[in-house]
């Protein structure tokens, strides 16, 4: 597990999501990366059931249950600003049992699928974010394997991102800022994905609202 940066690639002007993805992948292949299969990250949203809410009327918290094909036997459950739980795949079954406490939000499943590229110590995943049948955006994840401390290799990651993302290079993710010298873990990656999905969802809502 190395330091990972998840960012969104805005869709190029006048092109569809697919075409932008193709552009990116072509760039990567020219760089010399080798294709190593596919990946998938998905996310389901649950909110606390109304029955468990106190009479004070506090808003229910949202819980996200995510899976990552990079960690095939694990399941991640996280709250927005709260802790992240890494569990066995039996957790999904457990959620069914907890139907009384957590209810799934409608049409909330969001996922990103794409190809996985290996370039020496870097692992690049370019995926299409889809909600239902429609593609909503592009997610780019870059992992630098050898390092586990975020602050040490952020500059290297940034350079690499610049080499193929060009002007769309993101800034340092928020998770990096929290714990500079702490060891980076898969939970942080999932937090980044959650933020990305939320952003895309808001964009979607805003776009729908605007329309």
């Amino acid at each position: 597990m190395g330091v990972t940066c998840v960012s969104q690639m805005p869709v190029a002007e006048g092109k569809s999501v697919q075409q932008t993805v193709e552009l990116l992948t072509r760039k990567l292949e020219m760089l010399g990366a080798e294709k190593q299969g596919t990946f998938c990250v998905d996310c389901e949203t649950y909110h606390t059931a109304a029955s468990t809410l106190g009479s004070q009327g506090q808003t229910g918290k949202l819980m996200y249950v995510m899976h990552n094909s990079e960690y095939p036997l694990s399941c991640f459950a996280l709250f927005e600003n709260g802790p992240c739980l890494i569990a066995d795949t039996n957790f999904d079954v457990l959620m069914v049992k907890l139907k009384g406490f957590f209810q799934s939000a409608k049409a909330s499943k969001i996922e990103t699928r794409g190809t996985r590229y290996q370039y020496c110590d870097f692992l690049v995943k370019v995926g299409t974010v889809t909600m239902g049948p429609s593609a909503r955006g592009i997610s780019v994840e870059v992992e630098y394997g050898p390092c586990v401390v975020a602050s040490d290799c952020w500059s290297l990651l940034l350079e690499f991102l610049q080499s193929f993302l060009g002007s769309h290079t993101p800034g340092a993710p928020a998770v990096f800022g929290n714990r500079h010298d702490a060891v980076y873990g898969p939970a942080d990656t999932m937090v980044q994905y959650m933020e990305l999905f939320n952003k895309i969802r808001k964009q979607q809502q805003a776009a729908a609202f605007m329309e």
Binding site: M1, E70, Y71, P72, L73, S74, C75, F76, I86, A87, D88, T89, N90, G185, P186, A187
Partner: protein
């Protein structure tokens, strides 16, 4: 009692006088009572001096007589009569007897006194002790003790002997019973080795490896039956056992797994007809009962079946480039081209039919015992793994599986880590790898040996390491020339023989990977031979040829052949020639060069230069066989001489 008048009481003595006579008119005449003195006299008469004073009978009689005295005058009259009778002897008064007695007593006393006084003087009378019988002589107390002890010991010994007799009797009885072997004691012995349980009225046992971790679905139960066909009239046979075991019919006989490597693939028609040669049963421990050998053999059959089932399952499931063939009881795979590995389950039952058929001679030489042993070890490892704490869930509610696999979820293992946990290799793959390695190793050894025997000079030495892995062995190869070991130290190769390739590590750090082809290794080694010669020849060429005297001293070879002509040159440093002829070429070359050089030197001393190049020479190989060894020797003598001279040498130009 004031009211009552006093009554006069008169007292009269009760003593009445004795009636003497009663007159006719009823008057009684009384005897006058005895006076005091008369009474005393009467009493004195009654004293009997002949009797002791302690005689109570007399006193009793006397008192009786006294008691009777008062009531009846008649009795006293009788006594008086008796006294009268006594008195009747010429005696007069009652004190007479008393006086006589006293007198006689006095007389006697005086006599006694006189005698004693005379005896005291010892003049006329002495006291003579009466001779008594001598006392029995006092016996020696020790011998008495000895005899008494002996007697008592004899008594104790008797008791002990009786007890010992009883014990020996019981021991012999026990031994006799042992030979007879009670069913229950035999059953106890069986229980010490095997697991038994009672089902209804049958006793069943378990000889499978299920409790040791096996997952083979065979039940492996055997039945214990009582051996009742014993004829009590006849003598009990020595190997009689009251207990017999009945093993399942498919586990009868003996089995083993035959692993062999053959060079050429046999015809397809020969498949499935593996020669089962009946291996002699391993010697059972002396004294182990027959049921033990039977059960052990059945267990071995079961294990072999499990091994073969596992191997055949993997052979079918696992995809490989060259598919494995599973026919009846044989699995055939091709680890290398032109090489065939066959694993077969040889199960021979104890029937007489099969014994006849297996009398044909089989050749067991290609059976690799090592691999068979390894198969057994591998399956046992697999068994242990299923039972190990890594697999068994702790806590008990955790799911089955490898311990780290259970953690892979919560610890977010990625694919690499998960793959490293799962043992991806099955039994068959492991065995094939081991077989490949064994074959490669034996072939490398054969190659080195053949080269060593074929080429006398330089010499090749191979030092095989004792400690090897199942998949890797190593050997250190040294190529040296006799006499020049110090110079030719550079040719040291470390060969690491792996599963499919041989990795060569040169002394100077170069790493070369050779494939499994035999020819590659041979060519490579020959090239190293040439290197050695090259070094030697270079050495020869590298020194200043100014020392003529040396040449003169060693010159003994006459030129009898050799057409030397100028022609196309072959550069000294190229090893592009074919290796075999290169060697011979070199030896001849060196010899001829030495000769030529000498001749040239003799003829054209001025033209001898330091860097003598071979551009102008080519060689004639007419007598190449004869001169090969001698020539090289000659060359070496020269070199040796030069070495010991004071010339500077540079080895590697």
């Amino acid at each position: 009692m004031s009211g009552v008048r006093a009554v006069r009481i008169s007292i009269e003595s009760a003593c009445e006088k004795q009636v003497h006579e009663v007159g006719l008119d009823g008057t009684e005449t009384y005897l006058p009572p005895l006076s005091m003195s008369q009474n005393l006299a009467r009493l004195a008469q009654r004293i009997d001096f002949s009797q002791g004073s302690g005689s109570e009978e007399e006193e009793a009689a006397g008192t009786e007589g006294d008691a009777q005295d008062w009531p009846g005058a008649g009795s006293s009259a009788d006594q008086d009569d008796e006294e009268g009778v006594v008195k009747f002897q010429p005696s007069l008064w009652p004190w007479d007897s008393v006086r006589n007695n006293l007198r006689s007593a006095l007389t006697e006393m005086c006599v006694l006194y006189d005698v004693l006084s005379i005896v005291r003087d010892k003049k006329f009378m002495t006291l003579d002790p009466v001779s008594q019988d001598a006392l029995p002589p006092k016996q020696n107390p020790q011998t008495l003790q000895l005899i008494s002890k002996k007697k008592s010991l004899a008594g104790a010994a008797q008791i002990l002997l009786k007890g010992a007799e009883r014990l020996t009797k019981s021991v012999t009885e026990n031994q006799e019973n042992k030979l007879q072997r009670d069913f229950n004691s035999e059953l106890l012995r069986l229980r010490q080795h095997w697991k038994l349980r009672k089902v209804g009225d049958k006793i069943l046992g378990d000889l499978s490896y299920r409790s040791a971790g096996s997952l083979f679905p065979h039940h492996g139960t055997f039945e214990v039956i009582k051996n009742t066909d014993l004829d009590l009239d006849k003598k009990i046979p020595e190997d009689y056992c009251p207990l017999d075991v009945q093993i399942p019919s498919d586990l009868e006989g003996s089995a083993y797994i035959k692993v062999s490597i053959q060079k050429q693939a046999p015809d397809i028609g020969d498949l499935g007809t593996v020669n089962l040669f009946k291996r002699p049963l391993p010697k059972s421990k002396p004294g182990s009962p027959h049921w033990q050998t039977k059960l052990e053999a059945a267990q071995n059959v079961l294990l072999c079946k499990e091994i073969f089932a596992q191997l055949s399952r993997e052979a079918v499931q696992i995809k490989s480039q060259i598919p494995h063939i599973v026919v009846k009881n044989q699995i055939i795979s091709q680890p290398f081209p032109n090489l065939q590995l066959s694993i077969s389950l040889c199960h021979s039952s104890n029937d007489k039919k099969s014994q006849k058929s297996t009398t044909e001679k089989q050749c067991p030489e290609d059976h690799l015992y090592v691999l068979e042993h390894n198969l057994h070890l591998l399956i046992r490892e697999f068994h242990k793994q299923t039972l190990s704490s890594i697999m068994m869930p702790h806590p008990a509610s955790a799911p089955f599986g490898h311990k780290r696999m259970r953690l892979s979820g919560p610890q977010a293992f990625d694919k690499n880590e998960i793959n490293s946990l799962q043992s991806s290799e099955g039994l068959l793959e492991k065995i094939i790898k081991q077989a490949k390695h064994i074959f490669l190793r034996s072939r490398a050894a054969a190659t080195i040996d053949s080269l060593a025997s074929r080429i006398e000079d330089p010499q090749i030495q191979a030092h095989w390491s004792n400690i090897n892995d199942v998949y890797e062995s190593s050997v250190k190869v040294l190529i040296t020339s006799q006499g020049y070991e110090q110079i030719c130290k550079s040719i040291q190769l470390q060969l690491n023989i792996g599963v499919e390739q041989i990795r060569v590590v040169h002394r100077d750090g170069r790493v070369i990977t050779l494939s499994y082809q035999e020819q590659e290794l041979q060519d490579f080694l020959l090239s190293q031979f040439v290197m050695d010669l090259k070094v030697a020849a270079r050495l020869w060429f590298s020194f200043l040829v100014t020392n003529v005297k040396t040449f003169q001293k060693v010159m003994f070879y006459k030129i009898t052949n050799g057409v030397i002509f100028v022609g196309h040159s072959k550069k000294f440093s190229g090893i592009k020639w074919k290796v075999e002829t290169l060697f011979i070429k070199w030896s001849c070359l060196c010899l001829h060069l030495a000769l030529v050089y000498y001749d040239f030197f003799q003829m054209f001393p001025k033209e001898v230069s330091r860097n003598f190049d071979m551009k102008c020479l080519q060689i004639n190989y007419k007598y190449k066989e004869e001169i090969t060894c001698k020539g090289v020797l000659f060359l070496k003598t020269i070199i040796r001489k030069c070495l010991f001279s004071t010339l500077k040498l540079s080895l590697y130009k």
